[in-house]
Symmetry: C2
Subunit: 491 residues, 2 copies
């Protein structure tokens, strides 16, 4: 954690304003995260929360709602007494997103809280449908809330940030009129998962890995984010979106950049994001030649019958794509990205396959070394080694060396949102997506989408729910790697 450089000598108090205070994200993630930050004493002094909803509700009622939902969704300890003191920092505020007068009322509410000689920090959190992003931000300007004297004002904005480069650009133009880029915190909660954050340390604080993290030693990288569930109640949103936009543009390409980037000069936000941007710039252009070697789209059997899904939908619920990074470190190393819904297992991991340079022949040929960075559901690191199988005959065996983080820290691993909220409060935007990252990733995903646009249905492979995906995945991986290594894991 880097120190907040903006508030060293000034007395401040921090007010968080959540738009979407009665929504799912607030109940499931934001309040449990804030509560954990509170009981672990990470929240700043004089912190308070104004939670905005469109419904009529007293603060008392709202606090009771939060207690119930936090009890339900928090993965960690909760006690009523500490939750009670915590929830006294929370005020419910009724507001219609499109009603300018409500924003004026909000400004009055903020003014009433002013204290002499203390400057305000304001953190506006958009936990609402993207349809409202522009409207809310513009109203913050119109109402003069943005003009209110303060130490800092920051905007945290949830995904999706656009549906393609064009819409993302439009959205960005709108919010950039109201907030500076440095004050915009675009969330990709995946990046804040413990084991993703660990990649930097793993790569740069371990001499043994740093020296072999390149094309001379690595033969392929596999980034897999698999889900067991189908679209569930999200059919309406999902059918317009698909796996490329919903998962590849943000989570998977972020994981790729973190795995592949050059060591940044420092770990400051802009140094790190500059290096990620360089990776995105080095992505080999996605052309529609030899498409089947680079792309598999899948749709699970039954998807078209899901609620709010078009019964002739060609939306992909699975994507496998082979990506190259044309720079000195990664020239020629395929990065396989795979994500999908309604699969056999829920798992997210990054798998590094090292070149197989076994020198001698011990009966069976040796397997390549494999490094698995397990993101979820297990957190940990596994290294596959070739060793001698105990016995009087020289036989080789592949074994696993394991660091199981989730075994050790089961009750300590914080949720992504704890880290993200705390970082935003502290002015550390390392884990948030900068606009140029978004531009480049949308451009890349747009090029994939347009390559199949006219003929999408003919590319779409059907797969059974609860399976490992379409059969074609097997030959797809074998163009540049030995296996889909995640399939070898025991769940």
């Amino acid at each position: 954690m880097k120190k907040d450089k903006t508030s060293t000598d000034i007395k401040t108090k921090t007010t968080m304003v959540i738009f979407g205070g009665t929504g799912d994200l607030t109940h499931r993630k934001l309040i449990p995260a804030l509560y954990q930050l509170y009981i672990n004493k990470y929240l700043p002094k004089d912190f308070s929360l104004i939670s905005i909803g469109r419904r009529d509700k007293t603060t008392e009622e709202y606090r009771n709602d939060l207690l119930a939902s936090t009890k339900r969704f928090s993965t960690r300890n909760l006690d009523d007494e500490s939750f009670d003191t915590f929830s006294r920092m929370i005020t419910y505020f009724r507001l219609d997103f499109d009603n300018e007068k409500d924003y004026d009322r909000l400004l009055e509410e903020l003014k009433e809280r002013d204290q002499k000689d203390i400057l305000d920090n304001y953190m506006f959190y958009l936990a609402v449908s993207p349809d409202y992003f522009t409207e809310i931000v513009e109203n913050l300007k119109t109402s003069k809330i943005r003009k209110k004297k303060s130490n800092w004002q920051r905007l945290i904005i949830e995904k999706p940030f656009g549906q393609d480069l064009e819409s993302a650009t439009k959205l960005n133009e709108a919010i950039s009129k109201v907030f500076d880029e440095k004050d915009i915190y675009r969330i990709d909660h995946y990046v804040a998962k413990e084991m993703i954050q660990n990649i930097n340390m793993l790569r740069f604080q371990n001499a043994i890995f740093e020296s072999i993290w390149n094309r001379n030693h690595i033969s392929s990288v596999q980034i897999t984010v698999l889900e067991k569930e189908g679209v569930g109640t999200r059919g309406g949103y999902y059918d317009d979106t698909g796996a490329l936009r919903d998962m590849v543009q943000n989570h998977l390409l972020q994981l790729l950049a973190i795995t592949a980037m050059e060591p940044p000069k420092t770990l400051d936000a802009d140094d790190v994001r500059n290096e990620k941007v360089k990776v995105f710039k080095a992505l080999r252009e996605f052309k529609d030649e030899h498409l089947s070697e680079k792309l598999i789209l899948g749709q699970y059997n039954g998807y078209q019958k899901e609620d709010k899904v078009d019964d002739a939908s060609t939306t992909e619920t699975l994507v496998a794509t082979k990506v190259y990074i044309d720079n000195k470190r990664w020239e020629g190393v395929p990065f396989y990205l795979l994500t999908g819904k309604a699969l056999k297992n829920k798992t997210a991991q990054i798998t590094i396959e090292f070149k197989n340079s076994s020198r001698y022949h011990y009966g069976a040929s040796s397997e390549p070394n494999i490094l698995e960075i397990k993101i979820q559901p297990d957190e940990g690191i596994t290294l596959h080694l070739n060793v001698k199988q105990p016995g009087v005959i020289d036989k080789m065996a592949m074994v696993e060396m394991d660091y199981c983080q989730s075994c050790l820290y089961l009750f300590n691993s914080p949720d992504s949102y704890e880290k993200l909220i705390l970082d935003a409060i502290n002015g550390d935007s390392t884990l948030f997506t900068r606009w140029d990252e978004l531009q480049l990733t949308w451009k890349y995903v747009d090029s994939i989408i347009s390559s199949v646009k006219d003929d999408k249905s003919s590319y779409l492979r059907c797969y059974e729910m609860g399976s490992d995906g379409p059969d074609e995945l097997k030959s797809f991986i074998q163009s540049g790697a030995k296996h889909w290594w995640y399939l070898n894991r025991e769940y």
Copy 2:
């Protein structure tokens, strides 16, 4: 296991002759090993054993003795029925080592067992005090046993092979008149321990290790073989010998060579041993300048009062020495060898300390990566990594990735002697010590001994029984490594 090239098309039977059949080694190690080879069907067809002792004893009595001792000493399953069929291959034969006529009787015994059209393999195993080595071997010649027509005749000889270069040379000259070098199998049972055998696979079948196994990435190597017991009943032998001759000349320098050697052209015995010899030749000459930086000798408190030990003895029961290998791979990397008796823990391991190249500063400085090859009592491999400690604040933690072989294969790891006997039967001398290895290691150890000869008592540090050795060990290691890493292990 390489195939026995000498007996592919010929019908043979194999007779093993143990000199010292009533001795400790035979009861504790050789018979349990042969029994395991038997029940696992590794012994060749038509195998039999003539076990020689000086006492009067019937074969029946002897077999009963073996059953009792094997029950006591075998670490693995034994059932009376299979031991009974196994022991039917064993004959007891009374012989005085210095009585030529007894060898003539032995020749007659061998002749009686001759079968038409079947050639004999003879394996003579010297499980006796080194005082008898020369006499027995010469009598094999005198009695014409060596002249008896056979497929092959091999000599297995236990350590110690001499007490210095001079005596070893004398012994070798004597046995070389009777056996060719290629038929002499000098045992160092340490080399056959599972995890020592594993080092070749670990180094050469794992691309991730092979590429970092050199001075660019490794800052030090520590080879530690520690014992809890004092000299016990071996005081008489030990007081004339000391840790340098008893442990360093053979076990520790062998471990050093296996860890440090260049990849051999093939895994054939001579290719491997050629590479080990090159390491011994590259050992930096041991001079008596700056002696305290290169050598610590210790003697445990109470040693002089042990049975059969001189009460003013200056024999070392502990040695720490810093060794350099002057070649391209290892230039400047200290190899610390440490062995001793009456210490807190029994443990043998090789610890590779990698250079600490942590790039960023996360509060605490990072520890170097450590690879531990655990030989005993645990068998396994542990890799120490720096990772992110789970939590919203970026803190580093050192964790261990573990491959615990003894956890997985507790009842499968064979004793060294199983491997060694089988290899000798199969004509694979890879794990046995060639004469030039012995020459060079004796020369090296002689030079250490002569460097302190005149003033040994002033170099000898006293340490308490059950301690971690003399206090000076700590500053000794810090001249070129971070810690004695074995001390950080939990036992």
